[in-house]
Amino acid sequence: MRIFDPHIHMTSRTTDDYEAMYAAGVRALVEPAFWLGQPRTNVGSFTDYFDGLIGWERFRAAQFGIRHHCTIALNPKEANDPRCVEVLDVLPRYLAKDGVVAVGEVGYDSMTPEEDRVLARQLELAREHRLPVMVHTPHRDKLAGTRRTLDVVRESGLNPEMVVVDHLNEVTVELVADSGCWMGFSIYPDTKMDEHRMVEILRRYGPDRKLVNSAADWGRSDPLKTARTGEAMRDAGFAEHQVSTVLWDNPVAFYGQSGRLVLDPLPGFTGDAATFSGNSVLRGARPGTTSPSAEGSAV
């Protein structure tokens, strides 16, 4: 099973997770810019975070054979803090970067006028940079929030094929299916959506335009939920090519619209296993050798 996790916050995860993900078949991922649990209070905190997404985290993933991409945006929660809104002015610099494959996560948290303004501006930026958009749907008042999101997307004039609306469930999937946007599902241990409910949705609506992600972050979450969904699909009688459509081809097709996906295997990593030909140059972390990330912190 080859997996592309289209939404996972690796900054919050350990190297053990990277190893387990590689072993489960994850070869590429997208890390959307989002909030960090602790609110930020100035633009510098954002730029340091963005620099991590296009620098350190990309390198860290590569050590484990995984191609890392990201999306960049001011998230809806912090869009409400006037100290953070100035980050909109530095976004164009980041939206020009390699490996930045969408504007996101944008959308609504509490559906305030500030959130409206910031969402509209970022949809404009996506058009200017010809990038897809990743939209987060709110946890509270989700159905109304999803409706309002789709209205704003429609008004923006963006092609719905350039938009994924994420964190969907049984109640919101149909609205988004009708809009022409892509549908994202975050598979969580005990909230949002689980792999068995996901299989039911796939049975009912088909794999077309569906993205399945783990959305793993600093909360209770599981970076292997993409693989678990693939297994649940097999158990439910889906064919291998359908599993592959959902877990690889769809995210590649959606984010491929950026023209910036890099998916060739990393040097030293091929096929299903990490193999190095005994070369002394840059290696992935292996038992018994120096791990640049671990040892690097001490130098």
Binding site: D51, G55, W56, K97, R260, L282, P292
Partner: protein
Amino acid sequence: MTGQDQAETWLNEAVHRVTSGPTAVRSLFPAVGREVGRAALRPEEDPGGLVHGTVDDQARTLIVAALVAALEAEPEALARELRELYRYGDDAEKRGLLRGLAAVAGRAPDPADPVVAAGLLAVRDALRANDVRLVAAAMGPFAAAHLDDHSWRHGVLKCLFVEVPLAAVAELTRRTDPELLRMVADYAAERRAAGREVPADALALLATDEGRPPTSAADPGEGA
């Protein structure tokens, strides 16, 4: 046109644009990988491009050289562009800028020269990073010419720690001094005490001190 022809055409055009209007570098620099590719230049011996760099490193080095030539008479403006390319660069852009500093390695070691100061700022930042490709790129000809002894020795030791081949360190032989050898000998002793392998590059460096030829395959001479 083949992909390689297209890449060369794009790069020639990019160099031309930077020559006629240096600020064009700001939008060209992030696009390099998409236009010319990202493969290691010598994948067989150096799959990560730590020693010899990558295709995009090489292209960015040429673009930085064009920038340096275009702003030859304006050191303040050149320093500002170099600083900002590094500050706002992603991992690949930072690496390209560091390798591109070779174009200003020949400047006189004048602490008042803003170009040398900008280069040192980037090199020192990269040597604090945990991305080994930045560490490798930082230890090129510019660091060999301008980095102070203490920082340069720590750069070499960091290469040993994070498994950057010392072949990536420019002018290793010329700049190696007794203090570096003392540091490397202590490092080797610490590794042995912990029951860990001492890197071949460390042994080779220590062997030069004892008047024996290096036993490692890595050439500790003039690096890339």
